[in-house]
């Protein structure tokens, strides 16, 4: 955008390179440390591992309860995202396409949730889940994630649907198709790009969330990845080689997904609530 000369370019590329090094170093550190022995970590902080201690991974995988945690995180994230997508696309569709009483009021009411920090309401949520026998269950977690995800998803999908010409649905309507059929057969396929973005943003957000599992989940077999790592970090403090392995195991999958789908990640963010 700016017109920069040779010097300008040198400065820009140097700054960006330094920044990338600062970003990459901590990740490189846990990765390298995860193959070292504890002695090696203390004595040779900057060198590559002198022996490849793959058993760090085996031990971390087992003692951090990571298999269980992965299954739980995957279940909770997928089901929550599914719920968010179904409910929000229905709501967004009817608000975007039809006229009915309180349409605008309902929309604004939902939008307010964009800026309500759901964590502040955790005490009543906790009490309610307890009354419903959903405390310390993955279902409880999923219900909370769906409810708190509706605002953002509805907002984004409504905006996307507003951009699709309504004429496409016109002929189906004249043929007497019901709103439900039109929604399923015509509107939903057209909103796929928005669904991908909304789904991805929510998936990562839920996968990464720590606060709700910390409050809602108690049993070891229901822990999500962030919670499992946090407990492992407390119990195995100072066993840095194992902690590094556990951290690598929890960071790598999400990084791979990111590198594969970075286009959607970046779109999700810029198309999001702020532009």
């Amino acid at each position: 955008m700016l017109k920069v000369g040779k010097w300008g370019k040198t400065i820009i590329y140097s700054v960006l390179t330094v920044y990338v090094v600062i970003i990459a170093t901590p990740f490189a550190m846990i990765f390298v440390n995860s193959f070292k022995s504890l002695r090696d970590i203390f004595l040779n902080p900057f060198s590559l591992p002198s022996t490849l201690n793959v058993q760090n991974y085996v031990e971390a995988w087992k003692s951090a309860n990571l298999f269980n945690a992965y299954v739980n995180s995957f279940l909770v994230s997928t089901l929550s995202v599914g719920g968010i997508l179904i409910m929000s696309s229905m709501l967004a569709y009817v608000i975007s396409r039809y006229d009915f009483p309180f349409r605008r009021t309902i929309y604004l009411f939902i939008i307010v949730g964009l800026a309500l920090p759901a964590r502040l309401a955790i005490i009543p949520i906790y009490v309610m889940l307890n009354d419903l026998n959903l405390l310390d269950t993955r279902t409880g977690l999923i219900v909370v994630y769906i409810a708190t995800g509706i605002s953002f998803a509805t907002f984004l999908m409504k905006r996307f649907m507003d951009g699709i010409p309504a004429e496409i649905e016109e002929s189906a309507r004249i043929d007497g198709a019901s709103p439900w059929t039109i929604f399923l057969k015509i509107a939903l396929p057209l909103t796929r790009p928005a669904m991908i973005v909304v789904g991805l943003v929510n998936f990562v957000g839920i996968w990464n969330d720590f606060f709700f599992p910390l409050i809602i989940i108690n049993s070891e077999n229901k822990e999500t990845v962030p919670l499992a790592i946090s407990i492992f970090f407390g119990e195995f403090s100072n066993k840095w080689q194992l902690i590094s392995a556990a951290l690598s195991l929890s960071v790598l999958p999400i990084m791979v997904i990111f590198f594969l789908l970075s286009k959607y990640f970046i779109a999700g963010m810029t198309e999001g609530a702020i532009k």
């Binding site: 901590p26 990740f27 009817v94 396409r97 006229d99 708190t148 309507r173 709103p179 990111f258 970046i266």
Partner: protein, 318 residues
């Protein structure tokens, strides 16, 4: 029949075509989301308000205490702890805003001015953002560890050993360290938002300025900056709201006690301790916790409404 399918035009509608719909369909589409949203988002907020007037250990009967909880928090036995945490939030907000928005804007200008490697840099810059904040906290607690941490080791290696610090153990440093880790993780988000907003600026404006002989500095201060002010505004509002949500990073680096000596305590950790206990909380009570939540809410709410208003207005103009 014809009337039901009639097109209605309304000033409030964006591009103006809205079709009427049978009530049962409205209910079918609206109710699932609305019921869940009201039950688990709206109702809990209202319930928090009510609870803040009670004393309640979480089980058994609630005792109505009027404004006692608020008195305790603002002026009473709990006051110092609350003010301490509140000031930390304000400090956090100011520093994070300066660094994340300032550096974010600058790096975004860099990014839009290069061609080669742009996608790579964009990706790398955003990378930390997709990692859970709690994991980022643990990774950095290793980086900053006094014995094995690379930060101090590096300083010693390059002969700057005097600068090696107990980054997380010194009450005067710890909060700044946490803010730095926060910037490390979140900066990329702001870079990319500013990048998107810079790319929306018409190129002709810049061309014209260059033809008139404007320097890059002039272009930045007279064109790019003024035209991205709306982005600065929206992001500051969001940062303010998000700052009062800070919890994970403090919990990961300093624990729920927000040590050393509460020097990193923020309202998020204070709220957690009051509501869900944890050793060393001066008092654990759902009523008191709800009162803390209500106070945070009252601070954040005006800006939340401004944000919702801005977003709604923009999406209608879009």
């Amino acid at each position: 029949m014809a009337r039901r399918f009639a097109l209605k035009r309304r000033a409030t509608l964006r591009k103006g075509i809205a079709v009427s719909i049978k009530k049962r369909y409205v209910l079918l589409f609206v109710l699932p989301a609305l019921i869940l949203y009201v039950t688990f988002v709206i109702y809990p907020f209202i319930f928090s308000f009510i609870l803040s007037f009670y004393k309640w250990p979480g089980a058994g009967a609630k005792t109505f205490v009027g404004l006692q909880n608020f008195k305790d928090i603002l002026f009473g036995s709990f006051g110092n702890e609350f003010r301490n945490a509140f000031m930390h939030n304000i400090y956090y907000f100011i520093l994070v805003t300066i660094f994340e928005l300032g550096l974010g804007f600058l790096l975004a200008i860099f990014l839009v001015s290069i061609v080669k490697g742009k996608r790579f840099f964009q990706m790398m810059v955003y990378l930390p953002n997709i990692i859970s904040m709690i994991l980022v906290g643990f990774i950095w607690s290793m980086m900053l560890n006094p014995q094995i941490g690379l930060v101090n080791q590096f300083l010693r290696h390059v002969g700057l050993g005097a600068l090696a610090q107990p980054w997380l153990g010194d009450p005067n440093l710890a909060l700044n360290t946490i803010i730095a880790v926060n910037v490390w993780r979140n900066l990329g988000f702001y870079v990319l938002v500013f990048t998107a907003s810079l790319l929306d600026i018409p190129r002709e404006l810049l061309e014209a300025a260059y033809i008139d002989g404007a320097s890059n500095f002039k272009v930045i201060t007279k064109i790019l900056f003024p035209l991205t002010i709306p982005t600065f505004q929206t992001l500051s509002i969001l940062l303010f709201i998000w700052t009062f949500n800070v919890f994970d990073i403090v919990y990961a680096l300093e624990g729920a006690q927000a040590g050393p000596f509460r020097s990193t305590d923020v309202l998020g950790t204070l709220f957690y301790r009051t509501a869900f206990g944890g050793l060393g909380s001066s008092r654990a009570d759902f009523g008191l916790g709800a009162a803390v939540a209500v106070l945070i809410f009252l601070v954040v709410m005006p800006l939340s409404l401004v944000y919702a208003y801005v977003v709604d207005r923009r999406s209608r103009n879009a």
